[in-house]
């Protein structure tokens, strides 16, 4: 049993909606509700769900970048990061205190086109976290840049070029090099391959896995593509409308999903192999807005097995068998 690196306990994130003449709060988006999970050192946790399910908000809450971008956001619960100096609740930190921990938690973004500053050279982009977080001198920083570029599979000569000179896959490699620059422990990858072409996607996935082995990294991998998540993750958590509906090992969730939503989600993945094609569970309707969630289990209006009680009681995440939990009251405990 390895050590725990990150513990998220009952995290809730709510965004206010301002309106009216006085710009008062008129409504609230409950983007994340009561989310709890743990990530152990060296493992990859995959967070999967469709758009609007709160997976990116969860990732951003851990990186502490929600307060900077949205006015009046409410974050409740605890995000406990086990650093070398003992556990610390990231949510209780202010901006200045957080800066110290940013070194240990870095993020890789989805869009390799907007996440790199077009006015900076690759070398400046990768040096920036080093300037902020370390006391390295110019020469040391340059050596580190050369090193990192080689590690991510780019030629060191590229250091003086600008982002527009690179393809999507190469830009994503630059983003990875920047995240690795300060030798973080935890990397939060938010849809790192979804903007890439199929043939380049597998290169980047392999690169992320190689780097994990080499630097002993821990990943929180956020994506909507279940087959990618299944490939990279040790454990998977499935989110629906702000809540985790199922958690388990990749094998358990992908091969024998328990929650009706996970079952539908997995059956909706198109298959290239005609032999693997199974009967598809077609969900009715669309994901409700998180401003106006259904009462009780938020999946109940679309659930193929819902009963009357589902619309009154919010199901808790229960362990069904061997670390495999699901939030559905209709499942029998084994």
């Amino acid at each position: 049993m390895s050590e725990i690196l990150l513990e998220v306990k009952n995290l809730s994130v709510r965004f206010p909606i301002w309106g009216g003449i006085l710009r008062q709060k008129i409504a609230e988006v409950r983007a994340v509700e009561n989310v709890s999970f743990t990530i152990k050192k060296g493992e990859t946790l995959g967070l999967v769900g469709e758009s609007g399910c709160g997976k990116t908000t969860t990732a951003k809450a851990i990186c502490h970048i929600l307060k900077e971008t949205s006015h009046g956001v409410v974050q409740e619960g605890e995000i406990i990061f086990h650093s070398e100096n003992g556990p610390v609740n990231l949510l209780s930190l202010n901006r200045k205190e957080m800066r110290f921990y940013r070194r240990e938690i870095q993020m890789i973004f989805q869009d390799p086109f907007s996440s790199l500053n077009p006015r900076m050279t690759v070398s400046e982009i990768i040096q920036r976290p080093l300037k902020i977080h370390t006391k390295m001198n110019k020469k040391e920083r340059r050596t580190r840049v050369t090193d990192l570029l080689e590690k991510v599979g780019l030629q060191p000569e590229y250091a003086l070029r600008y982002p527009h000179e690179f393809s999507g896959g190469q830009r994503q490699r630059i983003g990875i090099a920047r995240a690795l620059a300060v030798r973080p422990k935890l990397i939060i990858a938010d849809e790192p391959v979804s903007a890439l072409d199929v043939s380049v996607q597998s290169q980047v996935i392999n690169l992320l896995e190689d780097l994990q082995d080499e630097f002993g990294l821990t990943y929180l991998f956020v994506a909507h593509d279940l087959s990618v998540i299944n490939h990279v993750s040790d454990r998977i958590s499935v989110m629906y409308l702000g809540r985790i509906v199922e958690t388990g090992s990749a094998e358990q969730v992908y091969s024998s999903p328990l929650h009706p939503y996970s079952q539908a989600l997995i059956s909706a993945i198109p298959q290239t192999d005609p032999a693997k094609r199974s009967d598809r569970i077609m969900l009715k309707g669309e994901i409700p807005s998180s401003m106006n969630k259904p009462s009780g289990c938020s999946f109940n209006p679309r659930c193929p097995i819902a009963v009357a009680e589902c619309s009154t009681k919010i199901p808790e995440l229960r362990e069904m068998n061997d670390h495999h939990s699901a939030a559905c009251d209709l499942l029998e405990l084994k």
């Binding site: 597998s202 198109p270 290239t272 192999d273 669309e286």
Partner: protein, 343 residues
């Protein structure tokens, strides 16, 4: 030759008279220095009742091919510099603007990837569906209104008659794509071109939209679909035949079974092996095609895939392989494949 392919759509493909014939299509775009070829010599047939998939990565020329059929290539900078597109014995490339307008939406319709930008934000959706009908048919506004409501009901917009007065932003992404399908199919076109119709949607919504598209298409007799996508699995599940594009050319074309069970071109094999769901994972590593997709202004001479191919031989760098036709009709553009004949 009659064959049944997809379990859901058991339409026998009548390999007689194709409804659409594309021959040697070349499309160029003007760059700062000279022209770059986005599509360089694409030929294929589309048969009545058939669903043809065109797969490829970004920059492979798949969308440009689709836009050429609709004559929607912005000129300049674009230019269809060679080739022919025949639709029902008419040469599409020689039609005048008004003649083309009669065909668009009426005989050949298109669904675009981004439903938000494809619908006009300042008109109600009722107005947009009605306009499509009134452009092509001489019926009264009231009749058109009735047809529009019926069509929206068919594609699963709840409470359609009330929602006719709503604007595109009042609908969700999935619903907007449903409205696009309604717009495209309301005049019962013979050909529907769907350019990445589900790429902007979530998996569960994607499944719904694909199902709807196929269901609506089967209701129009003998109508065909060209489905353009980068998602191999979507093609495997919906199409009868598949064309794989790379570097502005069709590299391999065959039935779904030929392409997915016995892919011949190294590029197709590489693409299939690099999917995370594939069975070719070795030591936990995915197969990766080395290198990047070359930009269209920077295509290698010879085979377009030679810079990334692992089975490359000298000849590949010098000479572009012809499309070899195998005895079962499967066509492959590769020097390593022995064909019965060349095209």
């Amino acid at each position: 030759m009659v064959e049944t392919l997809n379990s859901k759509n058991k339409i026998p493909i009548n390999q007689q008279q194709p409804v659409l014939q594309v021959r040697d299509l070349v499309v160029e775009f003007k760059l700062e220095m000279g022209y770059a070829r986005a599509v360089s010599g694409v030929s294929f047939d589309l048969f009545p009742g058939e669903i043809l998939g065109i797969v490829g990565e970004s920059g492979s020329g798949k969308s440009v091919t689709a836009l050429s059929i609709m004559r929607l290539i912005p000129e300049p900078p674009g230019k269809i510099s060679n080739g022919s597109i025949r639709f029902e014995n008419k040469e599409v490339l020689e039609l005048s603007y008004p003649e083309m307008r009669d065909i668009r939406g009426n005989n050949i319709a298109m669904i675009f990837q981004e439903p938000m930008t494809a619908l006009n934000p300042v008109f109600t959706i009722g107005m947009q569906v009605r306009e499509t009908i009134l452009t092509h048919e001489k019926i009264s506004k009231k009749e058109a209104q009735g047809r529009a409501i019926k069509m929206l009901e068919k594609v699963g917009i709840p409470d359609a008659s009330a929602r006719m007065k709503d604007y595109p932003h009042q609908f969700s992404g999935g619903q907007r794509q449903r409205i696009m399908i309604a717009l495209a199919l309301v005049c019962k076109p013979q050909i529907l071109i769907a350019d990445e119709p589900t790429t902007a949607l979530d998996v569960t919504t994607q499944a719904q939209i694909l199902e709807l598209m196929l269901e609506q298409q089967t209701q129009i007799e003998n109508s065909s679909i060209i489905l353009i996508t980068h998602d191999l699995a979507v093609v495997a599940e919906t199409c009868h035949r598949v064309a794989v594009m790379y570097g502005g050319k069709i590299q391999e074309i065959g039935t779904v079974n030929q392409i997915f069970s016995a892919p011949k071109h190294p590029y197709t094999r590489g693409l299939l092996a690099s999917l995370p769901s594939s069975t070719s994972i070795k030591d936990g590593k995915l197969y990766a095609i080395p290198g990047n997709v070359p930009s269209i202004s920077d295509m290698p001479a010879g085979c377009k895939f030679c810079t990334r191919c692992e089975e490359v031989i000298d000849r590949c760098h010098q000479e572009e392989p012809p499309l070899h036709v195998l005895n079962n009709g499967h066509k492959v553009r590769c020097h390593l494949i022995e064909g019965e004949a060349d095209e």
